[in-house]
Amino acid sequence: MAIAITLEDNNGLNSKVSSIFGRCPFFLLIDPETKKFTIHENEAKKASGGAGVQAAQWIVDQKVDAVITGNVGPKAHTVLFAASLPVYQFDGTNIENALEAYAQQKLTNLFEPNTDAHAGIR
């Protein structure tokens, strides 16, 4: 079991959850039971275009079972959806809270994108 969470910074389990999917700075890959984790730089962050597609491809290739993020755009959603990878929407910044809400099945499963393309460019 592994979950991918979008991160604002690289500060172990004290990192902040990012509301952005395709252009978030880091990804956390974590086993919610053992709490074993790794943090990876998001190579797609600097893409001139198609960051959502590139990030989603990377996540799919990591063979995770679910994704937790704030907002996911249409192209990234298409890739994750095609991979049958559920995307859960989380509004806060705390990783512990996100995992707890996930375990208690309190997070919304995004069956559709919840933001426009390019929303993460800033």
Partner: protein
């Protein structure tokens, strides 16, 4: 000789200068061939002033990849090679995002299974005709496409006369200082920058002058449109950069009225024709 007309700022009068310059040269009756090429393919409107007689046209196409899912081994090499992230491979299937594709063909070349073919897609249209003896060509970007550059590149290749002593090709560029303007300036012998005596005009004139200088330092000249006769804001800049001001078209209700009816300034006010011709003589030296 190829002269590209650019401005940075939109609405300064590129098309007014381009059409009137081209028609003046044509009417001057020299034997050389004069042509006007409207490279503002997102909004080609020089034709509105010329009412050209169209002779022929041609589509601009790009080649998009088509994936044969039967032959595909889902190796992801196409997704890896794609510089624009237009391809993803999940669950053994290729997902293609057409709007991200730049039609570079890298995926086709790199597919070890030979599972990617190409199919043409129309991205624009080129048209060629004439107004009296003036040759006129224009490109039009298809609605829904974001990159004008391939249309401009094809238009120049298709329409530009061989750059010889006897020919004058005037290229009407789009506003701004981005890729379409770079493509319109490429290969030109001189750049004619049209500006207006306002802080906005100066701001964008500065940008486009810098662009030309960085590209290849071709000769630059300025035309001040909507001139007040004294235009210190532009004059100061041109003096400092050593750029000649070749012509001024006055801020005039009559000229604006002529423009609004889609008429040429030189038709309504033939006295300007000499100024346009004089410009060409200066620029040849």
């Amino acid at each position: 000789m190829v002269i590209t007309i650019a401005s940075g700022k939109g609405g300064t009068g590129k098309t007014t200068i381009a059409t009137n310059l081209a028609v003046s040269l044509m009417r001057a009756g020299s034997r050389r061939s004069i042509q006007l090429v409207d490279c503002d393919v997102e909004e080609p409107n020089a034709g509105l002033f010329l009412n050209p007689v169209w002779e022929n046209s041609k589509n601009v196409e790009r080649l998009l990849p088509v994936f044969d899912q039967e032959k595909c081994s889902a190796c992801e090499q196409c997704a890896d090679i794609c510089e624009y992230n237009a391809i993803a491979v999940v669950n053994g299937k290729v997902l293609f995002f057409k709007e991200l594709c730049h039609a570079c063909g890298s995926c086709v070349l790199n597919c070890p299974q030979g599972a990617i073919a190409e199919t043409p897609e129309i991205v624009g249209k080129l048209e060629h005709g004439h107004h009296e003896k003036l040759l006129f060509s224009q490109g039009t970007l298809e609605i829904g496409f974001s990159s004008p550059v391939p249309v401009i590149r094809d238009l120049k290749k298709w329409a530009l006369l061989p750059n010889e002593k006897e020919t004058v090709s005037i290229i009407d560029a789009s506003p701004g200082t981005t890729c379409p303007v770079v493509e319109s300036l490429r290969g030109a012998d001189a750049a004619l920058l049209v500006t207006e005596p306002t802080p906005f005009g100066l701001h964008d004139l500065t940008l486009v002058a810098e662009l030309v200088t960085k590209m290849d330092q071709k000769p630059i000249a300025v035309v001040i449109n909507k001139s007040n006769d004294n235009d210190p804001i532009i004059e100061e800049f041109c003096l400092q950069k050593n750029i000649p001001i070749l012509m001024r078209l006055p801020l005039s209700r009559e000229i604006a009225h002529t423009y609004s009816k889609g008429q040429l300034v030189v038709d309504a006010f033939p006295q300007y024709q000499q100024q346009f011709i004089a410009y060409l003589k200066t620029s040849r030296n």
